[in-house]
């Protein structure tokens, strides 16, 4: 079975570790954590993810800028990006920020799997 590759960029290492733990435990995802936003692009080049979860508010670099870097890289331009944010509620932003989908923290596992399914196509059977 082909595991989907998820790159999660967030300075909160506790969050990335738990996400990695939870998702990889399903056996359907390979998760790479990146806690330094400035390394995100190189990490993406290196890891070649199927999807990127990107925190917006990070030290040194903004999530939006990282999205820009990834989008302008021809090798990565097609990779879907989902924002993670702590400062807006879903109601207000109608599930989009600058054309990108997003997930509001604290996000439930249920929302994450729904989101992944939506962007990566149906992931065969199984539960989280």
């Amino acid at each position: 079975m082909n595991k989907k590759r998820l790159l999660v960029v967030d300075d909160e290492s506790g969050f990335t570790r738990l996400l990695k733990l939870t998702l990889e435990k399903t056996g359907r995802y390979v998760v790479r954590e990146e806690n330094d936003g400035t390394n995100a692009w190189l990490a993406a080049r290196d890891f070649r993810p199927d999807i990127v979860f990107l925190d917006i508010v990070m030290p040194k670099i903004d999530g939006g800028d990282v999205a820009q870097q990834i989008r302008s890289d021809p090798m990565l331009a097609h990779v879907p990006i989902v924002f993670l944010t702590a400062i807006v509620s879903e109601k207000e932003t109608k599930n989009e920020i600058g054309g990108f989908p997003f997930l509001a923290k604290p996000v439930s596992l249920d929302s994450i799997t729904k989101c992944l399914a939506e962007h990566l196509g149906s992931v065969d059977g199984g539960t989280v």
Partner: protein
């Protein structure tokens, strides 16, 4: 009744021969009708003189052969003793020479003894007494005339046909500076006066002599040769001889320089007074009790339409004004005269003889004589037309000023109102600034709190997938999950409350928003809760931010449902209302933006819940204020509602209903 005998003249006989005395007495007193009686006898000259000095005799008979005196010297002594008593000498010597000498010595008559009879004696006595009397009379008259001439201060002169002085009195002598009048005799005026007077005087005198007519009371200017000048009042008369022929002139002249000077002073004074009243622009005039003008100054003369004061004097207002106008004037004058009280500064509108209108201040003062009777009126009248006009202008200006003041006050009120509005805007700006700060704070808090929450949430969910350690573990995990949810709700509410306050306004259907919001809160409805909708179908579309208004209704419905834990009725109504007055349904700081007559769209939400404690009503819109038990509300719901409603320029009113529950009233401007 008998006529008393006439008083007889008293005769003194001075003679020492008793026989002669007897004879004389016989001749004097023989006739009972004799006017004489012998009142005394003297035998010597000495005694005769003594008796004469008694001055009680009218006539004396004197013998020249007395024992103590003989001859003519006797006459001299007797005459000296009494000048005014006529003496008749009785002599025995018929000597014409002696008779003449006797008369020259002062005797009245010389009679020869023995040659006289009663008749002669009587006649001689009579003549002597009469002549003495005539002479005394003449002497007295001459004396009086002399006294007059010498003492009168007026100057008197007599001149001959050639106007040469023949007599001048003491006053004229003094004027000419002469020692005696005789020094002037034979001289003329030209010797004493300057040519100016002398010539004129001569002409006058020639005229008097030529015509025989007197020159009476002529005022003459006299310039003396030495330079003195004076004024005099002179009368000149023709002098006639017994036959009536004119032989000269006489004149009397009185110095009147002082009078003349006084007259000139009076004239000057009169002219000064005249100058005063004639130069006054005020009308000044005096009228008698019948209204005849006695004195008018030039201003009044001109006002009456003439230039000559003589045209006015003695006439009345009736001569210058139509009868009805004149009658009015006259009545006014008479009222003052009758009242005897001065009328001061009466303002009146007048039309003069030329028809010119003016406003005048007139004073009329009764003119009283020494006995206090009113004999006329003194009037003075001033033209105050200009002042009157200025007064009118002032009044108008004052009125305009008052009007301007009103406008100013209005402007000030407007300014105050504008100021109030500005203050409110300022407060709103401050509020907005505050909200921005809160927004930044909220964003920071959200970030810092939500990240840990995210970790906790993922962690809980991870644990939930593990095999539980004991049977309580799932319940504990459940509790932890709910707590996490609550924390997340608080942060989310804070974000909503502080979210950027900009509306995306479109024309929206309020009813649709309400229906949608009801849909969203369906999950909060307990069993036994009914919803009643009464939404007016043809509401006008309103300028609203649909998302935010939806949040308003969600919050309000949520509150209502939370208040009805045991179930109840949630009633929602919408309708259009025309504002008829600012009533109790409108509250909040925006109520002044509503105007009477405006159409409003009203939404009412009633519940049948527990209501709001009255003492908490005032605080319900404050952030973090809640009446809900801990864990059920964030305390931000109504704050968010109020903020959104204010942004829409709408109002919200929340009050307890009498029966039970709460009514929320929202009003939107259409």
């Amino acid at each position: 009744m008998s006529i008393p005998p006439p008083v007889k003249n008293r005769v003194l006989i001075i003679d020492d021969n008793p026989g002669d005395i007897f004879l004389l007495r016989e001749m004097i007193e023989e006739d009972p009708n004799s006017r004489f009686q012998v009142a005394g006898e003297a035998g010597t000259l000495e005694e005769g003189i003594r008796r004469l000095q008694e001055r009680s005799f009218d006539v004396a008979l004197l013998d020249l052969q007395l024992p103590d005196s003989r001859g003519l010297d006797t006459i001299v002594q007797a005459h000296a003793a009494a000048h005014d008593v006529p003496i008749i000498v009785m002599s025995e010597i018929d000597d014409e020479e002696l008779a003449v000498r006797s008369v020259q010595m002062g005797a009245h008559e010389h009679l020869l003894k023995g040659r006289v009879d009663a008749h002669i004696v009587q006649r001689t006595l009579r003549y002597a007494v009469e002549r003495a009397r005539a002479e005394a009379q003449l002497a007295r008259e001459r004396e009086l005339l002399q006294t007059l001439l010498e003492n009168i201060p007026d100057r008197i002169y007599f001149k001959d046909r050639e106007s040469r002085f023949t007599l001048i009195n003491r006053a004229l002598t003094a004027l000419f500076g002469l020692h005696s009048p005789e020094q002037a005799y034979g001289k003329t005026d030209a010797d004493f006066y300057g040519q100016e007077h002398a010539g004129e005087a001569l002409e006058d005198e020639l005229h008097v002599m030529e015509t025989g007519e007197p020159l009476l009371g002529k005022v003459e200017f006299e310039n003396l040769a030495d330079g003195r000048k004076s004024w005099s009042l002179t009368t000149k008369l023709p002098l006639r001889d017994r036959k009536g022929g004119i032989v000269g002139t006489c004149g009397i002249s009185r110095e009147i320089s002082q009078m003349k000077e006084m007259e000139e002073q009076l004239e000057t004074e009169r002219n000064l007074l005249r100058a005063v009243i004639d130069n006054l622009p005020d009308l000044v005039f005096l009228k008698d009790i019948e209204g005849h003008y006695l004195l008018n100054n030039m201003a009044h003369v001109r006002w009456l339409g003439t230039t000559d004061p003589a045209d006015v004097r003695g006439r009345t207002v009736y001569d210058f004004f139509p009868d009805d106008v004149a009658a009015d004037f006259h009545r006014g004058d008479m009222a003052v005269a009758d009242s005897r009280k001065a009328l001061i500064n009466q303002e009146e509108h007048m039309v003069d003889a030329q028809g010119n209108h003016s406003w005048r201040l007139t004073s009329k003062i009764p003119w009283l004589d020494e006995d206090g009777r009113t004999v006329g009126l003194v009037c003075i009248s001033r033209d105050v037309t200009e002042q009157k006009r200025a007064e009118e202008r002032l009044k108008k200006a004052n009125a305009e000023l008052a009007e301007n003041r009103e406008e100013l006050l209005r402007a000030v009120r407007n300014l105050q109102q504008a100021h109030g509005e500005l203050r409110e805007v300022q407060l709103q700006l401050i509020e907005a600034e505050k909200m921005k700060s809160i927004g930044r704070l909220a964003a920071g808090v959200a970030h810092e709190v939500k990240n840990p929450l995210a970790i906790l949430k993922l962690g809980l969910e991870f644990l939930a997938t593990q095999k539980p350690a004991d049977e309580q573990t799932p319940e504990i995990l459940q509790e932890m999950g709910e707590a996490l949810e609550r924390a997340d709700n608080v942060i989310r509410g804070l974000l909503d409350f502080s979210a950027p306050k900009q509306l995306e306004v479109k024309r929206e259907d309020l009813n649709a928003i309400i229906n949608n919001a009801l849909q969203l809160v369906r999950g909060e409805m307990k069993n036994g809760t009914d919803v009643e909708r009464d939404l007016q179908s043809n509401l006008p579309p309103l300028p609203l931010d649909a998302g935010k208004i939806s949040q308003v209704f969600v919050n309000l419905f949520t509150n209502a449902l939370h208040a009805m834990d045991e179930g109840g009725l949630l009633a929602v109504r919408t309708f259009v209302k025309q504002l008829t007055g600012v009533g109790t349904n409108i509250s909040g700081s925006r109520s002044e933006s509503f105007r009477v007559g405006q159409n409003l769209v009203v939404a009412e939400i009633d519940d049948t819940g527990c209501g709001i404690p009255e003492d908490k009503l005032a605080k319900i819109f404050e952030p973090f204020f809640t009446t809900k038990p801990t864990g059920r509300g964030t305390g931000l719901g109504l704050s968010v509602v109020k903020t959104i409603i204010d942004l829409h320029g709408a109002t919200i009113d929340i009050r307890n209903l009498h029966e039970a529950g709460v009514r929320v009233t929202l009003m939107f401007q259409s």
